[in-house]
Point group: C2
Chain length 333, copies 2
């Protein structure tokens, strides 16, 4: 057995996929040959399929969001590695609706390349395809980073809202435009007090000084460009909230959907305490927490850290999409 409860890093992912398909057989099926999960019961009015994917190790993203009202298919790669373009192509071809397929892609080079190749092949087959590039990670907002901001926690909220919009029969271009608007209103910031365990060596992927956090860590173990000493959890959450609000510049009285996300080894006790601090800071600055999610939604294996995501609601229809029924392994209402 390796450092994880699996025989090795490869079977960690492959066994989990079989287990997800077995546990949630009412919701989805595993296409074993091409390595993707597919929803059993898309909404009848949905014309455009919604497909996502990315490296494994971030579960429940994306496999936990396949079902009715959210993703039609999810394509997992190996741990922290993009899925192969063939997976994406086959999944998209299998689920594409009468009006095509929307790819929700987190902004990483590998994912962009593989979703891009799949999209070209789909176009060649006459399947309309558009992309929403999610790039919500504030820590990578810098003119020096040519790749742009990374995609992270906000992906869950955007996939939920786009799924509900697709269920109304919305067309491909309109869905892509909605996704782009949502992404522009969404920022995430993550910290970690300990790295994840590297699946191959069993050692922490990096060291964090005692009493400090990596400030602006990524979900693949990308280190932040600095660690900060933490005086208290309240001041840490306040600083993060301040930076998110500065970047988003919401109008007075803005409504928000907030996600307090555990990166792996953080307890629910901590996450709910952090949520309370976040909500108090937001309210003190005149913002309204319209909806919230608190839990492990976009993880980095067993990293000891958390992320805060704010999505500013510019249009009341966004909340109606968010509230629309969903039936997946994780989101279910």
């Amino acid at each position: 057995m390796g450092p994880y409860f699996a025989d090795d890093a490869a079977s960690l992912v492959s066994d989990a996929l079989v287990g997800v398909a077995r546990a949630h057989a009412d919701l989805l099926t595993l296409q074993a040959e091409h390595g993707y999960l597919r929803a059993r019961h898309p909404a009848p009015a949905r014309r455009v399929a919604v497909v996502s994917g990315g490296g494994a190790g971030h579960e429940p993203l994306h496999t936990g969001f396949v079902g009715t009202g959210m993703l039609d298919a999810a394509c997992p790669g190996r741990v922290f590695a993009s899925p192969h373009n063939r997976q994406i192509y086959e999944a998209s071809l299998a689920v594409a609706g009468s009006a095509g397929v929307l790819h929700v892609v987190k902004n990483y080079t590998g994912d962009r390349i593989n979703f891009g190749i799949a999209a070209e092949r789909l176009a060649h087959r006459g399947v309309p395809c558009a992309r929403v590039l999610v790039d919500d990670d504030l820590a990578t907002e810098s003119a020096d980073i040519a790749a742009g901001r990374r995609g992270t926690g906000g992906t869950v909220l955007i996939e939920k809202i786009l799924g509900a919009a697709a269920d109304t029969g919305m067309g491909l271009d309109e869905l892509a435009a909605l996704g782009t608007t949502l992404t522009a209103s969404c920022r995430t910031l993550a910290v970690a007090s300990a790295a994840h365990t590297a699946p191959t060596t069993g050692a922490p992927a990096f060291a964090v000084p005692e009493g400090a956090v990596e400030y602006g860590v990524g979900i693949h173990g990308e280190r932040a460009d600095h660690a900060i000493q933490v005086a208290g959890i309240g001041s840490l959450v306040e600083q993060m909230t301040h930076e998110l609000l500065y970047a988003l510049a919401p109008p007075a009285g803005a409504q928000m959907i907030v996600l307090v996300n555990g990166l792996g080894a953080v307890t629910q006790l901590e996450l709910y305490g952090i949520f309370d601090a976040l909500a108090r800071h937001l309210e003190a600055r005149g913002c309204e927490v319209a909806r919230n999610l608190v839990g492990n939604y976009v993880t980095a294996l067993d990293m000891r850290g958390f992320s805060l995501t704010l999505l500013v609601v510019d249009d009341p229809q966004t909340l109606r999409y968010y509230d629309a029924p969903v039936r997946t392994a994780v989101l279910h209402w």
Copy 2:
């Protein structure tokens, strides 16, 4: 900041309670003076209230199961410490239905004493009160252990089923008898490859040898009476399954509700792989996995371990209770 994302061990719990009440204000309220969470909308036909509680550090147990169709109130203690009998008394008095209150108590000395004192005080006030003692932990099945088996993962399944039964208007004695029958058909076994982080010192609560697991660990960091070297995850799950089946001795073709539960720092990838192995072993032995839950339901802070729970379904009505609608922070269908 302490080893957890909280200022200290006390605020870890108290801040979380405020956060839970804020995040799930549609489902429950916090009674701050007496320190319990109370459901907002019990089912109209429910005559007997269902109340549980226990030490904190096991979230989402029990706070995540307060709402409609499950618990009327949850009384959290400090980390790994029983709630005070006053909390339990006040919560029970506040929610007791026309036919009294059922206490679901995990079998630990502190919990038994405090729920017992509360029950005596309730009887004194003329409030009928009965107890279901959950003692599903196979690792503590020994004639040498006077306290009996501990209560652990099975508590979630039993609280779900009893909540649905209470919603039908079932009376107190019948509910207590149902709970006792369910507990007799339910066993859990837990292993850990690393202990939780002690909230006061920041150090692991105990050491586990490299490549080994504590076999039969408790949810408060009670060590097992032995550690075993693990050849592979498949053989570990097979051994656990074998011991659970030996203890439960289910009839041929028995249906089961199974819970694969993360104790804190274990990833979803691991849990779903473990679930697949468990389901295969059960099917090979002629058992049917009728329902499953895979995730973090009864944790031990950030312990790196998992538990397997089997509940043998003796009566088809049990599955109907399990499937009945529930609306809590965690179970929601």
